[in-house]
């Protein structure tokens, strides 16, 4: 039953990866640039949860909710201050928007990591698990209690996010802007507000993913780096700009890593993702479900 257990463990991690990836793919969809500071939304969510739940001792739902709010707020502020120039008129960088986005969001990521290190310290903050049950057992399959509860909660949120993007009025506006920003603005859509909404949504989801993973990884300044890089892998794997692709990509990556760590090498468990990234970019640049990811 080892195989089933590995699949289950992988799917649970995949849910968290997907929560990161869905935000990143939306940002790519509407702006067509990479956003390197996504992992820091994750980090901020993790810290908020750990501080509010463990230090202030407030109930866990409040801690989770405030993590979402703080992550969303941070992302909206970043959008307003640093990202908006990308789609407003902006002098020299108008020609080099990829380069502007790479440098500015990479710098922002380093800034937030080091700010956390400066003001909160390099040591890990621990947060309480969502459930007191240490593990669930179904036949031969054993899974950690927090993992299962957090994974199910994450799955619920993912479903909600997918419904929001695919079915709600706001989601339709997001997809309209992703297809054609200018056309959407002619149709009466406030593209600025949609961009802010996308950042809010992706920041909130990433922060929630961070908050839910605190009992497993603890809150540290650079805790978001690996998940952020993996969410890029998911986005490329699923296809840039495709929310369903991000979810499926996340689940695939989670399961692949789970098997790779067990059968190939535990030490290299974080390396597989990068090999997958390079392989997909070179062999199938459009990903599984997305638009073509490179111009030749």
């Amino acid at each position: 039953m080892m195989t089933l257990e590995l699949i289950l463990q992988g799917l649970v991690m995949g849910v968290f990866y997907a929560m990161m990836g869905i935000g990143l793919t939306l940002i790519f969809g509407i702006l067509k640039v990479v956003y390197f500071a996504h992992g820091e939304s994750f980090m901020v969510g993790a810290y908020t949860y750990a501080l509010i739940a463990a230090l202030l001792g407030l109930p866990l739902p409040i801690a989770l909710a405030s993590a979402v709010v703080v992550g969303a707020l941070l992302a909206v502020i970043v959008e307003r201050l640093l990202i908006r120039p990308l789609y407003e008129k902006f002098g020299d960088w108008q020609q080099m928007r990829d380069e502007y986005a790479i440098i500015v969001t990479f710098g922002l990521s380093l800034f937030l990591i080091n700010a956390a290190n400066q003001f909160l310290g390099p040591y890990p903050y621990h947060g309480p698990a969502l459930t007191d049950i240490a593990r669930f057992q179904f036949g031969d399959i054993i899974i950690g209690g927090h993992r299962l509860v957090a994974g199910l909660l994450g799955l619920l949120i993912l479903g909600g996010a997918l419904w929001f993007i695919q079915r709600s009025f706001w989601g339709k506006q997001i997809r309209a802007v992703a297809q054609n920003r200018f056309g959407a603005s002619i149709a009466g859509i406030d593209t600025r507000r949609v961009s802010a909404l996308v950042f809010m949504l992706s920041g909130g989801l990433a922060a929630l993913s961070g908050a839910l993973l605190v009992p497993l990884f603890h809150a540290q300044p650079d805790v978001g780096m690996v998940p952020a890089l993996k969410s890029f892998v998911i986005v490329v794997l699923g296809g840039m700009g495709s929310p369903i692709g991000a979810i499926i990509g996340g689940l695939i990556l989670g399961v692949l890593e789970s098997f790779g760590a067990f059968y190939v090498s535990y030490a290299y468990r974080d390396t597989f993702a990068f090999v997958i990234l390079i392989a997909v970019l070179l062999l199938r640049p459009q990903g599984l479900f997305g638009e073509r990811a490179r111009e030749v």
């Binding site: 990829d98 790479i102 380093l110 800034f111 390079i278 490179r294």
Partner: protein, 326 residues
């Protein structure tokens, strides 16, 4: 001679003055600690120059400069640790290995643009670092490998590093003045148009990656023979951030900017350490501010101030006409 050549020459002359000033440092400074800081500053300047060749002149925003420094560091480190080879053999091996890997990476990423290039190179950098950390039997993992010093005399090490820096700067100047330099800048400005004018884009992009990788590998190899330890920290993502900060703060796409930027970043890092402030915090904030508001970096600010102070209001357009006509 056209405007681009004149600009390059002016920047090159200023950088020579700066390097001459650096060369005079051991005459006044005897403290081995301070000389060590300058040596590390030269290491960052080398990486910044190499990255600027890729990003500033060729438009390829790779995020793997420190990965190549690490390849160079481990090239010479493994040569000396496992085979007892001296630096005189180990460093050329390091250059060769990093050049070949740079060529391979460059050839692979030719079709990728913008975000995809950044993602591929950052993935490459992480793979290299993970391998160095985990292949214990070859690299000793996180412990790193101790490497013999290139010279027990700090002044000697100082001038060896400076010689490398001068050689790279002079080499870059002649590269930029040649047709190759114009090809690279044409690719940066408009790849499709460059290809349309008959420039072999695949070849020249690969050349840029090879040269940049070789310089980074050379710098990394020299650095470990100065510090005595080859460790995976050389390729940490924060180090990439420092290289980016050097270039962006100094002035991207100029000859002088990355050179001076490397020194500023290293000196400021030492200064902030005294105050207990994390230097990366300040540099990251400066990178954001510079990219957002002063895209030309410090060199651009200096140039603008110079023009405002010493150039007559009408002098600038007139000179541009002259430059274009020459």
């Amino acid at each position: 001679m056209n405007a681009s050549h004149l600009r390059t020459r002016r920047e090159f002359l200023v950088s020579l003055v700066f390097l001459a000033a650096v060369a005079a440092v051991p005459l006044f400074v005897t403290s081995g600690y301070l000389l060590g800081i300058v040596i590390v500053a030269m290491y960052y300047a080398l990486l910044a120059i190499a990255w600027n060749l890729l990003a500033g002149y060729t438009g390829q925003f790779s995020l793997a400069p420190t990965a190549f420094a690490m390849i160079g560091a481990y090239g010479t480190g493994m040569a000396s640790y496992h085979f007892g080879l001296p630096p005189a053999v180990g460093v050329p091996i390091a250059i060769l290995v990093s050049a070949v890997i740079g060529m391979g990476l460059g050839r692979i990423v030719v079709p990728l643009r913008g975000p995809y290039l950044a993602l591929t190179t950052i993935a490459f950098a992480e793979i290299v670092r993970h391998v160095a950390r985990n292949a214990h039997e070859y690299t000793r993992g996180d412990f790193g490998m101790s490497v013999p010093l290139i010279s027990s005399d700090r002044v000697m090490a100082f001038y060896l590093m400076l010689a490398l820096l001068v050689a790279v700067q002079v080499g870059l100047y002649f590269l930029l003045r040649s047709h190759a330099g114009l090809y690279l800048q044409a690719i940066r400005d408009d790849e499709t148009a460059a290809a349309g004018r008959g420039i072999n884009v695949i070849f020249w992009k690969t050349v840029a990656f090879t040269v940049s990788g070789a310089i980074c590998g050379f710098a990394g190899a020299m650095y470990v023979h100065f510090s005595g330890l080859a460790s995976p920290d050389i390729g940490h993502i924060f180090e990439t951030g420092l290289v980016l900060a050097s270039v962006v703060i100094g002035g991207i796409g100029t000859m002088i900017g990355p050179l001076v930027g490397g020194f500023i970043v290293q000196f400021a890092a030492e200064g902030f350490r005294e105050f207990g402030l994390r230097h990366m915090l300040v540099f990251a904030a400066m990178v954001i501010l510079f990219v957002r508001f002063f895209r030309q970096g410090l060199w651009g600010l200096v140039k603008n101030a110079w023009d405002r102070l010493f150039g007559q209001g009408a002098a600038r357009p007139a000179r541009q006409v002259k430059e274009a006509g020459e």
